[in-house]
């Protein structure tokens, strides 16, 4: 019923035209709004009216301008950081310990025998180029098969344009004419320089013959990597060759060839409690062979440490048995260790530190955490699920990290371009590691990929850092260990425990003591919080509006109401105008049209309004005829006349 009534009323309204004019509406609004300016406009005298009008306009525009700034600020998603420092019970970091040397030389000797003989002979040739032949005659003939894939050459750059290239074993001089020699910033300025280069050749994946021919004719297939130092060249060459050899060995075998936990970890003490090699999780790391992780938190809960100081940390005694190092592979001797978060993969090449043999290394740890807000505040990832790179390290069950992403990205590229995976990184399913037999050109492919800046940039762009970044800041100090006085008994006991022998099987060169403990202040957390929240935005908006105009949301609603009203008036006006057109046509027939109801109403109400609108002076003139009873002009009654008149007009 109400609805019907409403519609009827609306219909009448449409027929009769507006009850108000725009001016009335505006004046009513100004008088009754809760914002502070408008009221003054209508209340003051003409000069002040103008000033107030101007002021109100100015304030309104100020409010809108500043609202714009505030919203912009909000949308820029700024953050503020807060820092907290102190000591609390924290998870002890996972500690990964490796030997700098990946395999026991005694175990891999049979695989590397040929290579070692080759390199020894090559070194012989390099160091004494004239006497080289005599030593070779005594030894069994060398297998030059490996050699021809990647020969070591001497590049004589006396003449800049035509460097002379001397293959160490072939002793015939090639004048290198043109071609793509990659001389990395190596253009000699002062002549007289002999560079040692190792040549990586891109084989055409056909035969060995092609390889040897490469240096003679296929200059377009060859690049020379230049080294200014023979030591570097030899090491790089050896690494390339040995990777190729070792990549063919199955994983189980490689683990067996590496250092075993019981041989490496001689003693372990965590806090006051003894631990042993069984508390360590074995992981195969391509760079360092078998690595052992303490407190990785994969199977059991991570250990907490609630006390600062060396007494309550992890104490380890390691044996790296330096005598069993592969001589050409790694020249630095020591243990490699790294502190990292639970369930994360240890990237020792990046974050690892060395511990020197014959010393006690004390590492005070400070956990430096950075907790960041994700999108849209910063471009970081919570768990790596939104990164477009397939994480190959997920096979270790480890969490996402930027290093894992970069390496996975590189490996994916490598597989795409070279057709095989690099030995240092994990493999996706169905792909094999590169080796010289199956992929003769892999070394060339790899080195070009490695030095390509654009490929690296692609990986950098596609990987995102993690939002929660934990760094372990270490204060490293060293002392000689064991001391000369205690050396004897320590070696005796450790040898006995390990080998059950009374002979001393250990020495200074192999033994390392490690203390890892929390410092007095063990954490420093930088956490981000949004500088601008929605609450902040609202209160700032409100503050601005209130400051300039004393307004609130209700004022906005009022304003909206007025707009709706004025729309309504417009509609009614348009309709009445259309009616007027019709009537004009009708006027041809009836020249003297009777006044419409709306006109009557207007005439009636106008009187009342004008008294208020135009202020004081008109009123003086308007009043006198009827001083006693002016028509009631209550606000609340304003709608009423329409209603009252409604039935009358209907009756008409």
């Amino acid at each position: 019923m109400n609805l019907k009534k409403y519609f009827v009323r609306a219909l009448h309204r449409l027929q009769k035209g507006p009850g108000y004019t725009y001016k009335e509406l505006l004046v009513w609004y100004c008088d009754n709004t809760n914002t502070h300016g408008p009221k003054r406009i209508i209340k003051e005298g003409p000069k002040k009216k103008f000033i107030w009008f101007f002021l109100t306009l100015l304030f309104a525009s100020l409010v809108f301008w500043q609202w714009g700034i505030l919203i912009n600020t909000y949308l820029s998603y700024n953050v503020t950081s807060s820092l907290s420092i102190g000591f609390k019970t924290m998870k002890f970091p996972a500690v990964t310990v490796c030997n700098a040397n990946p395999f026991k030389y005694s175990e891999v000797k049979h695989l590397l025998k040929e290579l070692d003989r080759l390199i020894e002979a090559a070194l012989e040739r390099i160091l004494q180029p004239t006497l080289g032949n005599s030593s070779e005659s005594s030894s069994p003939p060398l297998d030059l098969h490996l050699w021809h894939q990647i020969p070591l050459v001497l590049i004589d750059e006396h003449d800049k344009d035509n460097p002379v290239i001397l293959d160490i074993f072939e002793s015939n001089l090639n004048v290198f004419a043109g071609g793509n020699q990659t001389s990395e910033g190596n253009q000699t300025s002062a002549g007289n320089e002999t560079a040692v280069g190792n040549q990586t050749s891109e084989g055409n994946q056909t035969s060995v013959g092609n390889e040897s021919a490469c240096s003679h004719q296929g200059s377009d297939n060859c690049t020379y990597r230049n080294f200014t130092s023979a030591a570097q060249a030899v090491t790089e060459w050896y690494i390339l060759q040995s990777t190729s050899i070792l990549s063919k060995v199955p994983l189980q075998e490689r683990i067996r060839m590496g250092y075993q936990a019981e041989d490496m970890i001689l003693a372990c003490l965590y806090g006051a409690e003894p631990c042993n090699y069984k508390n360590f999780t074995q992981i195969y790391h391509p760079d360092h062979g078998n690595c052992y992780i303490f407190n990785w938190g994969m199977d059991e809960e991570a250990l907490n440490s609630s006390n600062p100081g060396a007494e309550f940390g992890l104490k380890l005694i390691l044996d790296i048995s330096q005598q069993d190092y592969i001589p050409y592979l790694s020249s630095a001797a020591g243990a490699r260790l790294m502190l990292h978060q639970q369930k994360s993969f240890p990237f020792l090449k990046d974050q690892g530190i060395y511990a020197m043999a014959g010393t006690e290394t004390s590492i005070g740890v400070l956990v430096d955490e950075l907790e960041r807000m994700g999108y849209p505040y910063s471009d970081c990832t919570m768990n790596g699920s939104d990164v477009p790179v397939k994480n190959l390290y997920s096979q270790y069950n480890t969490s996402y990290s930027i290093q894992a992403c970069l390496r996975s990205c590189f490996q994916n590229h490598m597989i795409e371009i070279c057709g095989c995976g690099h030995y240092m990184f994990p493999l996706p399913e169905g792909v094999n590691y590169c080796n010289n037999e199956d992929n003769p050109g892999w070394a060339y492919c790899y080195s070009s990929l490695r030095s390509s800046i654009s490929d690296r940039q692609i990986c950098i762009d596609s990987c995102k850092e993690t939002c929660n970044d934990t760094q372990y800041k270490m204060t490293i100090s060293m002392a000689d260990w064991p001391s000369e006085a205690s050396e004897d008994w320590i070696f005796h006991i450790l040898s006995y425990e390990r080998d059950m022998s009374t002979n001393v099987t250990l020495d200074r060169n192999g033994i390392i003591k490690l203390n890892i403990y929390f410092q007095e202040y063990n954490y420093r957390t930088i956490s981000e919080s949004a500088a601008t929240t929605i609450v902040w935005l609202l209160s700032s908006l409100g503050g601005q509006f209130g400051f300039w105009m004393g307004g609130s949301v209700l004022c906005l609603i009022e304003f909206g109401e007025i707009i709706i009203d004025s729309l309504w008036i417009t509609i009614i006006n348009v309709i009445s105008w259309c009616k007027g057109l019709k009537q004009k046509r009708a006027q041809a027939r009836y020249p003297d049209a009777p006044p419409t109801v709306s006109e009557l109403v207007e005439a009636h109400t106008n009187l009342g309004f004008q008294l208020e609108d135009t202020g004081v002076l008109p009123r003086d003139e308007a009043l006198p005829p009827e001083p006693g009873t002016p028509p009631p002009n209550y606000d609340s009654l304003r709608v009423q006349p329409l209603d009252v008149l409604g039935p009358d007009s209907d009756a008409e």
Partner: protein, 653 residues
């Protein structure tokens, strides 16, 4: 007909009240008008409330709210210049820093023989006489003879003394004479001297050359320090006289120092290094100094992709008195920064591989008015002697050097020369050492004012280093490594290298995360204004409009009312005087006055309207026929008239 008197009165009022707006005749009326019509809450309550307690409470509350607003806004203003810190981590290709590498020993001892033989001889002799130490008997005996014959300059200049128990007597080490000590005694080693210690205290005496009674004695608890310090003074004297080109030749060349170099997986050589002559460390070599315009960058972290160098240290060629440790010193710095090797270098051990992992942090502070730091150093009255970008260190050193030139007349050897000055040596400035020590003492005690003048730099880059050491070369690889490196070193040196002559250094980025710590202004003007608005709105629902109202009412209107009153008083007085003179009472002025202070007229908010409406009433008929319509705008009036007696009393007084 009724309109005529109304109009008349209006016109008269208009004439007498030139001010528009609240045409209140008195201040209290104005206040009342203000309270009733203002947009702020609270004021109105004061007027509207009935009962004294309630009114008093409302006055209290309103004043409290005003006080709170003022207090909070003051807080906001005071805290306007505060900064919030934000930490951003960006993973990106990072520029590799400049790495400056120096041998700890500045100059090859063998080539310095010509310059230092005298000094060394005397130092050895001093050692022998004091401590009975000698290297080779025959050599010493020969030199003893020389000693006597030459008569050493060095001991004349700065005598080494042995003190006995602080009894103010000392034995001159050369002549064996005892002498009384005058002057100040400075203790270099510690401020607490164990006088009861059986150890003799050794030191040297520096005297003002112009005034020999002015002497300062520097004592050391250990002869090791004393001899070194003494040697260094003479050494600086000698070095100050040698021109730079010669010194560069005397020091290590790039070929000498660098055996192998490997960067980002590629081989590099001495052309990637820039020579940089450091006064105390001789020739240093800076990798990636950016001198040729390109700065290398790394796009991969990890030890393989950083800088790897093998350094030749050449322990045999060390100066035995100047440096007592072996190795190299490195410093990681920005290309624009001056490497202060002596201050913040990291030492590298021989026969070891030192791996240095870097973590890059960039910080930026807000300059004035947020904090007292300087962006470029241009606003600091100390000339930057170093040809590098500003840092606190540079400022302090420059400041000291300037003070040195000003007070001693020559420049200290360890720092660059200011324009028009030259290095101190005691041929030209016999007094400089004394002067230098006094000045240094002052500098350390912050009496030179350098620490006050110099400010922090606003932005700085920092590479946090994690240093660890491994044995290198390993026992099994030692043999071939040394052979190949000897071959690398070239044909010049035919001997096989010793592993204690070598140091392996790896400098790499641990990760490519750049941590950028920056301060941002916590407040902007917009935020400040909205906070003001929030405060004003919370306590009083006030806005700028209210502030303008307050200004309007309390200043302009009140002033005009006061002025008007004064004017009318003056007028009245003038009229009275005139009347007294003329003996005739002017009626108009009185009438006007009455019209104003007439209670019927006064109580209106809008006087024009009300006077028009009301004034005719008392004239026409005492009883109004119809009550005036109850317009919403007039509703205030109702409360007003009821209040009338109270306020009127106040108003009339």
């Amino acid at each position: 007909a009724a309109a005529a008197p109304g109009k008349k009165i209006t016109a008269r009022i208009k004439r007498t009240l030139p001010v528009r707006g609240p045409q209140a005749p008195t201040l209290s009326e104005l206040m009342r008008w203000y309270c009733l019509n203002t947009n702020t809450h609270g004021c109105r309550r004061i007027v509207v409330s009935r009962g004294r307690l309630r009114r008093f409470l409302w006055i209290l509350l309103t004043l409290g709210a005003v006080g709170l607003i003022l207090w909070q806004c003051a807080e906001l203003l005071v805290n306007y210049y505060s900064a919030s810190v934000s930490v951003t981590v960006q993973f990106q290709k990072l520029p590799f820093p400049a790495v400056t590498i120096c041998n700890i020993n500045p100059y090859k001892y063998s080539s310095m023989k010509d310059y230092l033989s005298e000094l060394d001889k005397e130092t050895k002799k001093a050692l022998e006489t004091f401590y009975g130490f000698s290297e080779g008997k025959s050599k010493v005996r020969r030199s003893v003879d020389e000693w006597n014959s030459t008569g050493s300059d060095f001991f004349e200049q700065i005598p080494l003394l042995k003190f006995e128990d602080f009894s103010k007597t000392a034995t001159d080490l050369r002549s064996g004479q005892k002498r009384k000590i005058e002057g100040n005694v400075f203790h270099k080693d510690s401020s607490i001297v164990n006088s009861g210690d059986s150890n003799d205290i050794i030191g040297f005496q520096l005297c003002d050359a112009n005034n020999s009674s002015e002497c300062a004695i520097y004592t050391f608890s250990s002869g090791v320090n004393a001899i070194q310090e003494w040697y260094k003074l003479h050494y600086m004297n000698i070095m100050a006289q040698i021109p730079l080109e010669t010194k560069e030749k005397l020091s290590y060349s790039a070929d000498d120092l660098l055996l192998t170099c490997f960067f980002d997986g590629l081989s590099c050589d001495k052309r990637h290094f820039t020579r940089f002559h450091h006064p105390l460390h001789g020739n240093c070599y800076t990798f990636n100094s950016g001198e040729n315009g390109t700065i290398l960058s790394t796009s991969t972290g990890g030890s393989e992709y950083g800088l790897q160098v093998v350094l030749y240290i050449g322990e045999a060629d060390y100066n035995p008195f100047l440096v007592t440790s072996t190795g190299a010193k490195i410093i990681v710095h920005d290309q624009n920064e001056y490497p202060f090797i002596e201050d913040i270098g990291t030492e590298i051990e021989t026969a070891a591989a030192t791996s240095i992992g870097m973590h890059f942090t960039r910080s930026r502070k807000l300059s004035k008015p947020y904090s007292d730091c300087t962006e470029t150093g241009a606003d600091i009255p100390v000339e930057n002697l170093y040809n590098k970008s500003y840092s606190l260190q540079i400022c302090l050193h420059s400041c000291f050097q300037k003070a040195m030139v000003d007070s001693c007349g020559c420049a200290q050897y360890a720092q660059p020369l200011p324009a028009g000055a030259e290095y101190c040596n005691y041929k030209k400035n016999p007094n400089w050492m004394y002067c230098y020590y006094r000045l240094h003492e002052k500098f350390v005690k912050e009496q030179l004012g350098c620490q006050q003048i110099c400010k922090d730099a606003c932005s700085f880059k920092e590479w946090a280093l994690t240093t660890s050491i491994a044995q290198w070369p390993s026992t099994v690889s030692e043999d071939w490594m040394l052979r190949v490196l000897s071959w690398d070193k070239g044909q010049k040196i035919n001997k096989k290298l010793n592993k204690t002559d070598l140091a392996n250094l790896m400098v790499f980025y641990k990760d490519l995360n750049e941590r950028f710590i920056s301060e941002n202004p916590a407040n902007t003007l917009v935020i400040l204004l909205s906070n003001f608005g929030g405060q004003l709105g919370l306590w009083m629902s006030c806005s700028v409009v209210c502030v303008i109202e307050i200004v309007e009412v309390f200043f302009i209107d009140s002033l005009s009312i006061v002025m008007r009153r004064q004017w009318q008083k003056a007028k009245k007085w003038w009229n009275n005087r005139k009347r007294d003179r003329a003996g005739k009472a002017p009626q108009a002025g009185d009438l006007e006055r009455q019209g104003h202070d007439n209670p019927v007229c006064i109580d209106e908010d809008l006087p024009t309207f009300n006077t028009a409406l009301r004034l005719p009433l008392p004239q026409d008929s005492p009883l109004p026929r119809t009550p005036p319509p109850n317009y919403s705008t007039l509703r205030l009036e109702a409360a007003f008239t009821e209040q009338l007696p109270d306020t009127l009393e106040v108003g009339q007084r």
